[in-house]
Symmetry: C2
Subunit: 203 residues, 2 copies
């Protein structure tokens, strides 16, 4: 057993309250749910936003394909059923991060309205901010950052959102960002401004 060196410990039972966590971290836990077509700019905005938050001493964490599709959800495919379970699990993990008082930023196409609404219902009032990263299919296809649209048009990728699978636009997103027109910096500032205005963070 390790030596006991600590003195600043008081023993009290029960769970930590939301208020205690907010006091310790100087922020309110929340899930920022970025949704939009492939190539609309979700991941780029997520990375920029995380950096801007950290620069201002706020703690954020990005959930995206890199760390979720290859980890927690590696046993899921791209059928409608699996897409729904994919989003359900991401929603549950976002909820845990939000309860832990972090700013969870998710960057997934999340094409189905019902799936996104289920996540909204899972989280508490004011804990879910839906951000529609809106970009025309034409522009996304022109960018084709990952070369996926070309493959989808060639029929090499089945059920590709926007081409051979639907994208259901949000109708009550807290924030809509038109990346046909706004730069990454402008997009990020829009989200930061909202977070500050609503009292989630202090800039």
């Amino acid at each position: 057993m390790a030596d006991q060196k600590s003195t600043n410990i008081t023993w009290h039972h029960g769970k930590i309250s939301k208020e205690d966590r907010e006091k310790l971290t100087g922020q309110k836990g929340v899930t920022i749910w970025l949704t939009g077509l492939s190539g609309s700019g979700k991941s780029t905005i997520a990375v920029e936003l995380e950096h801007a938050l950290m620069d201002n001493k706020h703690q954020a964490y990005i959930l995206d394909g890199d760390n979720v599709r290859h980890g927690l959800n590696k046993n899921l495919g791209f059928s409608p059923e699996d897409r729904t379970e994919n989003i359900r699990r991401i929603g549950e993990v976002s909820k845990l991060f939000t309860e832990a008082n972090l700013i969870a930023i998710t960057a997934f196409i999340s094409p189905y309205k019902n799936d996104r609404d289920d996540v909204r219902a899972l989280l508490g009032e004011g804990e879910f901010i839906e951000v529609y990263v809106k970009c025309s299919l034409e522009e996304c296809e022109k960018r084709d950052t990952k070369g996926l649209y070309k493959k989808a048009r060639a029929g090499e990728i089945p059920e590709f959102t926007g081409i051979s699978a639907p994208y259901e636009e949000p109708d009550k997103a807290e924030i809509v960002i038109n990346t046909d027109e706004l730069s990454v910096e402008e997009s990020t500032r829009a989200i930061l401004g909202y977070l500050e205005e609503k009292g989630y963070i202090t800039l």
Copy 2:
């Protein structure tokens, strides 16, 4: 679009580094994996540990049956296969929390050695601390805090760990806590002492 009020923003791309997160939070992310029989004291120690960490300005979050079994893993049962998937998902979520630089405390029986070793392998060197909350079956059954042993003995709960399903003891746990003998406070101090000694936290 919300007004722009922020000034302290520099634009730079790329992911946040582990070092940046450690600097901001004054701690190292890690998963503290409590394993042991039902009634051994895992949850009680988890709650006490989380409080002691928060009192010392450290950020921890408990993953337990309450928030995982009824959320992320609500579509899993108690067959050996489902138990393995249960632990796999918890391991993946712990990894995300650890990457986010939190101290993740898990409180699950996690009876299979292989499952626990898989989680260990998932996490980086020094990011997984296995804590064997060791308590004799006799003592656990005597406590029977939730009345589960009585039901298991009556055959009302199939595959109950320690009675009708195996518990495989850890053979390389970083910390072993004998709760037949140690109080909750003593148990918590042992873990805190280890975390401080190894540089995860400052008390």
